[in-house]
Symmetry: C2
Subunit: 201 residues, 2 copies
């Protein structure tokens, strides 16, 4: 692409490093900003730099946080005896959006995947085991993706907890609410028959 401007070219290349944004989209975004007030671009750049400079990882649960300890860990009204184990911070946002859960979290930072070379030591597992033993945790809820890697991770963590007095549960798996049976994949459907629950009359 011929930009005939070094400034435009640099801005387009800056946008194009972002995932899912190619040079054409980047140009569209840059031209949009050119036609807006200068303050809008300044505020945009400041918000992003500020975020990247000051964002921290909660030293307790590994959630992203504005402070050393995140506002879920410091919230006194949350149940400290339940830990929900998730792969990433986006899972915390999704669960928080449901408004159904009032316990603590622990971010693993991924799942065990021998193919990608990710072993238990690459994940925040030892800190989880330590938290379970020191914080008098009663239940650990595994909110991990229902994949082979996810199941391996759950199995590995539960093995580490055999001698620890704590309940381990996984989030329910089955056909999605509002989904139609004929479109459910066969593994999900087979599992949901095996794991059928008594109907409360």
């Amino acid at each position: 692409m011929n930009f005939s401007s070094k400034l435009i070219e640099e801005a387009v290349e800056a946008f194009a490093i972002l995932p899912g944004i190619g040079k054409k989209t980047a140009l569209r975004l840059v031209l949009y900003l050119i036609h807006q007030d200068k303050d809008i671009t300044t505020n945009f750049a400041n918000a992003i730099t500020n975020m990247r400079q000051h964002i921290k990882q909660c030293s307790n649960c590994f959630n992203i946080s504005d402070d050393t300890i995140c506002n879920i860990c410091t919230n006194p009204s949350r149940d400290k005896q339940t830990i929900c184990v998730v792969e990433g911070i986006r899972d915390i946002m999704a669960i928080e959006d449901t408004g159904q859960y009032k316990g603590m979290y622990h971010v693993l930072g991924g799942v065990i995947s021998p193919i990608e070379g990710i072993g238990p030591s690459d994940l925040n597992i030892s800190s989880l085991l330590q938290r379970i033993q020191t914080e008098q945790v009663k239940e650990v809820i595994m909110a991990i993706s229902p994949t082979i890697e996810g199941d391996t991770t759950i199995f590995y963590i539960s093995k580490q907890l055999t001698d620890v007095e704590v309940n381990v549960s996984t989030i329910a798996r089955g056909v999605a609410f509002g989904g139609e049976l004929e479109y459910a994949d066969e593994v999900t459907l087979a599992r949901s028959i095996v794991a059928r629950v008594p109907y409360k009359k």
Copy 2:
């Protein structure tokens, strides 16, 4: 969405002002930047602020430019007697990418559109007429969108040039190269029959 972080929330809202970027995409971009080196975010923000602060409009042809006069207008090897009239700066980039044109440009900044309240005085038409008269221009090529508004604009400009000794042409319209006739719309196909050209044997 529950971000549990003011910094993330502000960065997401900053990205979400851009066209075609919703809150979910914005969050994906922010989380991508969190996992990159701090310098990448700083360079990204600097490139965009720098561009917005220093970008100018060429005072001759209204192209975007790093200087008061753009590098097409200052290029001594370009043909100063031909002006290609376009709607916007993206059209210049598209034509430059073809490598077929070595003349000058003039950006109108849009087309005449009574519905949107855009009249001739809202566009860079008077400066175009002045350039044609003072710069000994021999040909004006109208590279304007083949729409009703585009045709109106071409008609208006050519009317202003009736007493001026200059050739006015429009870019060729017809079926696109590589396109199939049966998929061409009927107006384009009808026009391309009316405007048929002798085949060079």
